[in-house]
């Protein structure tokens, strides 16, 4: 015991304290929810467990398995092809592949129902009606709109992969196929698993698409307990269990990864040169890469464009433009703050020597696993306590009436986004940091450069594209975010996602198309920008 205290005293630095402060700040909402685990669920718990949960859990399980398989398939194959081979329109495809992420998955779900359902294009052209609204349809829709998480993470890895090991593998007589499956794929694991975890969290979080397709999932259970059975305790209890499961999964993966140990031994590595392939293979590759773009982006986009054309005059107003601007500003500032926190967490943890606190860091990326509505409550409870306290203090001591300084302001909203999307920023940057290895920063330290100087001179420039990817992912996510925004947004502010939801919830799906298109549009621009940047670096 005494040893432990000495150990803590010895290893505590300013970084430990800074890290602890940030971790606490970010995890307040999560802990607010966790505390409910100890209070236990409400009285309808046994009803839920007996009647509903078996079905909800098995549905969620099917979705997880299905979407894992499909997103990995789409994500890795396309990432590998565009980073390794010369195929037609490669540069265009490279950024097109990210774009499905810009469409909220529930909008994609509506679009597909529209395409295949009664009176849809497919029925008209081929006289064929396909029922999308089932497990397979949902797995398909979720995979096709979420695979970019895997794609982005894998591509960043493949592009930065040194070509030495591939050459070595070939020199040793391994075929292209063997090199990929035995060498590249295992090496890329931290990258695509990071992407996959994001996918799975989105899947577990999805409410809109699953609800519309009539598939009850674990999240349906949370909403049913909360709103239909009127037991927020049970709902939060369920969320807490969900969070626990995800936390265990992440930890298991980390443990396993640690055992393998990833680092890049070669320092002056050459980048992978894209290879030419025969025409037939080129065509196969092109089609493989084009399919996810077509299904995930172009097809739903055309359906949305058609709907927007039908409803344009009604929806497009000056109010609409101002909402677009507000959305944009909120998403930009939230993405900035989130990336800042992600970087601080990563590097403070690196500079800190007290391992207990580093373990706590894992808690701060849990927000992504919790439904937005639950996060909102987790934010609402503590911020309101502060607000009420401040209001009272000003009234009692200064005889001065002030309004809430957190609730109903942008501050609470941005804070909630940060809590929710920290993982989105943290994972890609972490993956790239792992690849960076320790040798560079250690060398810099040997040269008596401080942590901060090392960061700005060495790590930041090397991580620039990962940081920008993180920024864009968060930006796009915030643009799409719905339940949390609905609860925490200030009076006079509106977002495009809220607008789209208002229409869709009133079954005015065609009217929801225009705000959705704007969300997509604002997502496309930064993606283009990012791509140019990566291209320039190469």
């Amino acid at each position: 015991m005494k040893n432990l205290f000495l150990h803590i005293k010895r290893d505590t630095t300013k970084w430990s304290i800074a890290l602890l402060t940030i971790v606490l700040f970010i995890t307040i909402p999560v802990f607010t929810i966790f505390i409910n685990l100890f209070y236990g669920p409400g009285e309808t718990w046994s009803h839920l467990v007996n009647k509903l949960l078996p079905n909800y859990v098995s549905n969620s399980f099917i979705l997880i398995v299905g979407t894992s398989f499909l997103t990995l398939l789409f994500g890795i194959s396309s990432a590998w092809i565009v980073s390794r081979y010369k195929i037609p329109l490669r540069k265009t495809l490279e950024w097109l592949l990210i774009l499905p992420l810009a469409i909220p998955s529930y909008i994609t779900a509506y679009a597909y129902a529209g395409i295949f359902d009664y009176g849809g294009v497919v029925e008209k052209l081929f006289n064929l009606k396909i029922d999308m609204m089932n497990h397979f349809g949902l797995i398909f829709v979720l995979s096709i709109s979420l695979y970019p998480y895997v794609y982005v993470a894998s591509r960043a890895f493949f592009l930065n992969q040194s070509s030495n090991i591939i050459e070595a593998s070939k020199l040793l007589g391994a075929s292209e196929k063997k090199t990929f499956f035995k060498l590249i794929l295992p090496l890329a694991r931290p990258a695509f698993i990071g992407g996959l975890i994001l996918v799975l969290m989105e899947v577990l979080n999805d409410y809109g698409a699953a609800k519309y397709y009539g598939i009850n999932t674990f999240t349906t259970g949370i909403f049913r307990a909360w709103f239909s059975l009127e037991e927020p305790d049970t709902a939060i209890y369920l969320s807490a269990i969900l969070v626990l499961i995800i936390f265990v999964l992440i930890t298991l993966e980390k443990q396993q990864r640690k055992r393998i140990g990833y680092f890049n031994a070669t320092k002056n590595h050459k980048r992978v040169q894209r290879e030419s392939v025969t025409l037939s293979i080129r065509i196969i590759f092109f089609v493989t890469v084009f399919i996810p773009v077509l299904l995930g982006f172009l097809l739903p986009l055309f359906q949305l464009l058609y709907w927007a054309y039908l409803t344009f005059t009604e929806v497009f107003t000056s109010e609409f433009l101002s909402i677009s601007l507000q959305s944009l500003l909120i998403a930009l500032s939230s993405a900035f703050v989130t990336v800042l926190f992600a970087l601080s967490l990563l590097f403070f943890a690196k500079w800190n020597r007290l391992s207990i606190i580093n373990m706590l860091t894992k808690f701060s990326v849990l927000g992504y696993a919790i439904p937005g509505a639950v996060i909102a409550v987790g934010v609402l409870i503590p911020t309101l306590a502060i607000d009420k306290w401040v209001v009272t203090i000003f009234r009692e001591y200064f005889n001065f009436k002030i309004g809430f300084i957190l609730n109903g302001t942008i501050l609470a909203l941005v804070y909630a986004y940060t809590v929710r999307y920290l993982a989105v920023a943290y994972n890609p940057i972490e993956a790239s940091t792992l690849k960076l290895g320790k040798s560079l920063s250690e060398a810099s330290k040997l040269l008596r450069k401080g942590n901060i100087e090392t960061f700005f001179k060495i790590e930041f420039p090397l991580l620039k594209s990962a940081i920008l990817s993180a920024f864009i992912l968060v930006f796009v996510d915030v643009m799409k975010e719905l339940p949390l925004t609905l609860i925490l947004k200030p009076y006079h502010i509106n977002t495009l996602a809220v607008k789209a939801y208002e229409y869709a919830s009133d079954e005015l799906i065609a009217e929801a198309a225009l705000p959705s298109l704007f969300i997509i549009f604002t997502g496309v621009i930064p993606v283009l920008f990012l791509n140019r940047l990566i291209a320039k670096e190469n």
Partner: protein
Amino acid sequence: MKKIISILVLAVLFTACKKEQKKEEKKQEEVNVYTHRHYKADQELFAQFEKETGIKVNVVNAKADELMQKMTVEGEQSPADVLITVDAGRLVRAKNKGLLQGVKSEFLDKTIPSHLKDVDNNWFALTKRARVIVYNPEKVTPEELTTYEALIDDKWKKKILIRSSGNIYNQSLLASLIANLGEEKATEWAKGMVANMARSPKGNDRDQVKAVVAGEGDVAVVNTYYIGKLLNSKNPEEVKAGEGVKIFFPNQEGRGTHINVSGAGIAKYAPNKENAIKFVEFLASKKAQEVFAKANYEYPVNEEVAPSELLKSWGGFKEDTLSLTKLGENNKKAVLVFDNAEWK
């Protein structure tokens, strides 16, 4: 570091004070509305109210459940004056949670029928929607249809389309059956409906109508409101779907067709209570009710106002005058019955 923090704190406090000062200078009369409704017609009415009274309407749009959660957490500090929802059950829930307060208004007393408002005047219905049976006229004649209860007859096996039990309109319908017939009969009904469903419940009310037209089933249970929306859709396919079905008002021989409402309640801690009452009175007034009736395919609650031409063309009907409070009281029971009947 310390310096930065103290500057930040000062900055935040300063902006907060400044905001408050601005408010004091203006002394603008206002009313804060938490609403689940988000229709163009509503926005126009709010603007009209502003113009007539000079009272500014601040709107927070979200799902009713979330708004109620927000009000609960905000407690006494809640800025909400009026809560508007699209389901009576939720208004009852808000009252039971202590989020609303009773108000006195002669105008509302005489304008709104007693089954359409709270006994303690905590809330008032503003518009009505009927939950009806629509049928494919090529396969079904209106003589074959009678009541909701008759839908569990074997004759309708694999022919009924209805959405999931998570939907509040279905919950309210079942709650009305529980209140009128008792829990046992209601359970029997839910089970019978599940047995007769043409497909596992999915999609929204519009999708049920489309499925009838596409031939997946013969009849569907939906809100009149959505038929109006379909018929006036910008999408020609939707108009075709709306035209492809006919409306039947069930239970006309007995208690009448189940109706649901959207309505407004006065928040317990309303900082602008007088304005809130004025606001709700305005929404129940003849002028506003005409706008509701025209724009949104809803039935007005103010009896002086006639429904729109389209609604008139469906014919008049007898409505179930069960107190809406009963829907709220039986809502949770209804959810449990649905689960026991394995209605998805």
